[in-house]
Amino acid sequence: MTRYVGVRLLQAIVVIFIVVLIVFFLLHRIPGGPARGILGQQATQQQIDDFNHAQGFDLPLPVQFGRYLGQMVTGDFGDSYVENQRVGDLVADRLPKTLVLTGLATLLALLVAVPLGVFQAVRRGRASDHVLSMVNFVLYSTPVFFLGFVLIIVFAQRIPLFSAQAPQGGTLVEILSDPRGLALPVITAAAGMIAVFSRYLRSSVIDNLHEDFVRTARAKGASEPYLLRKHVLRNSLTAIVSMIGYYIPVAFGGALVVEQMFNYPGMGLLFWNAAQRSDFPVLLGVVFVIAVATVLGSLLADIAQRLIDPRTRKVTP
């Protein structure tokens, strides 16, 4: 196990290095460079040269990359070009808000998807399974912002149950104390997850229902609810864990759209605004944090899976 974790950690570091490499060189392709973005179209060539020199943009790219990497290792993401703030502070302010949004959405999705998936698996091939599958596919196929719009029309305008505007508070406490504002962004973000999770769980439960040990237990007279609880769901737990680990980057992608739609002050909105203004250190910082979260998430998911399910321990990384 220690060896396994060691190898996976090493892999994780390599992956994060490649992420930084990709994004760094991609961002350096921005036309006119960050100088144009910050100083504006009216800036003279002299001003641009001065700016580039001050920021070290006139150095060869590999040197710049080395310097950037050196800063990153010490936890320094540099300063935002637009906001007069450090990137680390901006991200530290926004990340918890996005985590609240995606965390609540994931929780809601699991609460709905697990019973749904099990129900469909048990009743597979019947009318109820087909209808729910259909609903699932439609949910998956609906663009997040279209769904969000429909939800706003129905649950904020026709039936004024929730607010169409996300909580705008500066602190987490303020955000959490506005459930009417939080409801629609969370539901919107959860919808796609519900579709994917329940589909995944359905096939996992069907697979497990066909296992020999289930057949044996059934032959020995175990009741169906007992079978489901003790033999099937416990085995499907590994599927849920790996699914959540795998879903982290998708959830961040969804947050980008949901935050934009409801004007929720999280990482997605930060990233989008930064992209509009070529705020290069912020873009890099956000992507770095998401990549680290994703890599750590899938690492933890794999380790958890090995702890839960002894069968997976045989698999080498």
């Binding site: 892999q11 390599v14 992956v15 994060i16 490649i18 992420v19 990709i22 994004v23 991609l26 961002l27 392709r29 921005i30 036309p31 597979r124 091939g125 087909h130 599958s133 259909m134 596919f137 439609v138 998956y140 196929s141 609906t142 663009p143 997040v144 912002f145 279209f146 719009f149 029309i153 069907i206 066909h210 980057p249 998708v250 961040f252 992608g253 980008l256 759209v257 934009q260 990233f271 989008w272 992209a275 509009q276 070529s278 873009l283 956000v286 992507v287 998401i290 990549a291 994703t294 890599v295």
Partner: protein
């Protein structure tokens, strides 16, 4: 008595046809393609010149069955033209992602070792950056157009097929016929082309269908984030996000028609993919 031998292709077709959802998907797709590509031959509209004095007409007004948008374009005709763009980008980007991913995964899994380790870490890195974030960055670098969107969406979508294909390739490379070809002096690339990819074709095709569905959704998101193709060109995502800008004025005909067409199209591809998976995967067939 033995049952008459049936080829696996026949059985697949049978399994596909038994899956009603897949048939619905196929029928839906035929209808959608006909609407987008044959529709404009029957229902001719001008989708290039704006008619500002005929903007935001209600459905049915002045001979516009679905009304007009904020620039005076006939919505029904625009849905057809926009659908062509959405379908072409979705199909081409899905195909591009499948080709890149299949080649990448096949090579990584077949050769294994260091090459595999490095190639798959690149895939891990790509997956760790959400595609939408890359698309947002890409849009600041290049002006969106149909070929650009195909290229960019294809380039952010090949990672999942690469992972799937790598697993297949890893499993297939130790099969006797692949070993035999290698012993007979065949090249690695030859083995990949002749044996590995053809034997994994089921996985590849099923995934390609889902790739197309996802690509169509991605085009939609790209438009919503303000990075769509500039007018007079149109796609459903652009129409939908454009309509949402007027959502509080009650212009429902600018929102629901493109929204529903996106849902129907993505559903059609997902249904087909699901049916194909049943058809290719014997395991699923027995349990259905």
């Amino acid at each position: 008595m033995t049952a008459p031998a049936r080829s696996s292709a026949d059985e697949r077709l049978l399994a596909f046809r038994r899956n009603k959802l897949a048939l619905v998907g196929a029928a839906l797709l035929v209808l959608l393609v006909a609407f987008c590509f044959l529709g404009p031959l029957v229902y001719v509209t001008d989708q290039v010149h704006t008619v500002l004095e005929a903007a935001r007409l209600l459905p049915g007004e002045q001979g516009h069955p679905l009304g007009t948008d904020d620039l005076g374009y006939d919505v029904l005709g625009r849905l057809m033209a926009a659908g062509q763009t959405s379908l072409v980008i979705g199909l081409a980007a899905g195909a591009l992602a499948t080709v890149i991913g299949t080649a990448w995964g096949a090579v990584a899994g077949f050769y294994g070792g260091w090459l595999d380790a490095v190639m798959m870490r690149v895939v891990d890195a790509g997956i760790a950056i959400p595609g939408l974030f890359l698309l947002v960055v890409a849009a600041t670098l290049v002006t969106p157009s149909v070929p650009v969107l195909i290229l960019v969406i294809g380039l952010v979508s090949w990672l999942v097929p690469a992972r799937l294909m790598r697993a297949e390739s890893l499993a297939l490379r130790s099969r006797a016929y692949v070993e035999a070809m290698r012993l007979a002096g065949g090249t690695g690339l030859g083995a990949i082309r002749r044996h590995i990819v053809p034997n994994a074709i089921g996985t590849v095709i099923v995934n390609a269908t889902f790739q197309v569905a996802d690509a169509i959704l991605l085009v939609t998101y790209v438009s919503f984030l303000g990075l769509g193709i500039p007018p007079p060109a149109a796609n459903w995502g652009g129409m939908l996000s454009g309509g949402l800008a007027y959502s509080y004025d009650g212009y429902w005909w600018l929102i629901f028609p493109p929204g529903l067409l996106i849902v129907l199209t993505v559903c059609a591809f997902t249904f087909i993919g699901d049916g194909l998976r049943d058809a290719f995967d014997v395991r699923f067939r027995e349990r259905a």
